[in-house]
């Protein structure tokens, strides 16, 4: 299979592999440890998968905002995203 037209790079491949890995991990977790949805500070029912989605989408916004406003190394935004992820999984 020739994938040259997709213009793959190592960083984007890692990016998608991490997301795919997270999806697989959360599917396995959902099978091994079934859960009931809960209500957090957003006042909506969320499952672990919903919280993962909120985390990923929010992280994209955090990275974009960091890039647009801070001018500091982009890696630091990743640390901020980790804090945000912890907060989402704890309180949302």
């Amino acid at each position: 299979m020739n994938l040259q037209w997709m213009a793959w790079t190592a960083p984007t491949a890692i990016f998608f592999a991490v997301i795919a890995g997270l999806l697989v991990l959360f599917t396995v977790l959902a099978i091994l440890f079934p859960e009931t949805p809960r209500r957090g500070i957003l006042r909506i029912e969320t499952t672990r998968g919903d919280r993962l989605f909120i985390t990923l989408l929010g992280s994209a916004y955090i990275n974009a905002a960091w890039l647009a406003l801070s001018g500091l190394p982009q890696w630091w935004a990743l640390g901020l995203c980790a804090l945000y992820a912890a907060a989402v999984f704890r309180w949302v």
Partner: protein, 289 residues
């Protein structure tokens, strides 16, 4: 009784999964790959990192398009929602005129976008268009190709003409679902017309109106065809909304990298709004049982 658990039904989703992979996921992955690289054609790419994202995020051109897009969506919502509700309130509740009204209201919704654009493009021209000629005869020189304000007016009026019926039909469906007993109770209490609207009709329409707002926001936020046909994004870049600007960048200038970064950021906004849309809808569904 416990329901039997059988997850084999998931295999029935496979065809859709394959279809979506080819029509959406793989192209989207390619766009992500483009967004971190530069190319001069011939399928040769050079690593550019997050440079394009930085450029797009700080570009006055993109900020302008984003601002115009938000303004357009805000104006369109501010007109269409109240107007749609008002039309729904005026529509007959029973009798032969119900069907006539419904069909007439549905007509604009059935017309393809590019045809809507062509209709208004011709209608607004001062040489051959009915509207343009009429305004000209009244002494108003209307030229949407040269005057940015006129271009905005025609694009907004076109969108209102095209989509207000959707809001009206949704609001009408909401109104029809109110049991007669509520109106009778209001009559006994001698409630005024305004009070009936404020305390019975509006709360009962809340769900459908929310759906109408979100649908109209999404549609107007992604608008491309109609303004492209009517004004082509001009004059200058006065009506270059996000989609129009994106196409100019990607296909007109063939700046694949910046256009890919631009489209990903655009996609993020759409994704957030879609998620809110979905969450609100499911929450309403659950609340109303």
């Amino acid at each position: 009784m416990d329901k039997p658990v059988n997850q084999k039904a998931w295999f029935l989703v496979l065809p859709v999964l394959v279809l979506v992979a080819f029509s959406a996921v793989i192209p989207l992955m390619t766009v992500v790959n483009y967004s971190v690289q530069d190319t001069f054609g011939n399928n040769v790419f050079f690593w550019h990192g997050i440079g394009w994202f930085q450029e797009v995020l700080t570009s006055p051109r993109v900020h302008g398009a984003f601002g115009r897009q938000l303004l357009f969506s805000a104006i369109v919502l501010a007109i269409q929602i109240p107007l749609g509700v008002a039309i729904a309130l005026c529509m007959p509740r029973r009798g032969i005129w119900v069907s006539v009204c419904l069909v007439l209201m549905a007509l604009p919704l059935l017309i393809p976008w590019n045809v809507v654009g062509t209709i208004w493009q011709i209608l607004g021209r001062s040489d051959i268009g009915l509207l343009g000629r009429a305004l000209d005869a009244m002494g108003i020189s209307f030229n949407y190709a040269r005057n940015p304000l006129h271009a905005w007016i025609i694009v907004v009026v076109m969108d209102v003409w095209h989509w207000t019926s959707l809001v009206a039909l949704l609001a009408y469906a909401g109104l029809r679902s109110i049991p007669q007993a509520y109106y009778q109770a209001a009559e006994i209490d001698q409630a005024s017309r305004w009070k009936v609207f404020r305390y019975i009709e509006l709360p009962k329409m809340r769900g459908v109106l929310l759906i109408a707002v979100l649908l109209r926001f999404m549609d107007s936020f992604m608008i491309y065809t109609e303004p492209f046909v009517v004004t082509g994004g001009g004059p200058g870049s006065a009506t270059s909304f996000l989609s129009i600007d994106l196409v100019k960048m990607a296909l007109g200038q063939f700046d694949l990298g910046p256009a890919a970064a631009f489209s990903l950021l655009y996609f993020l906004v759409i994704l957030l709004v879609s998620w809110v849309f979905y969450t609100v809808m499911t929450t309403i569904d659950r609340a109303e049982g």
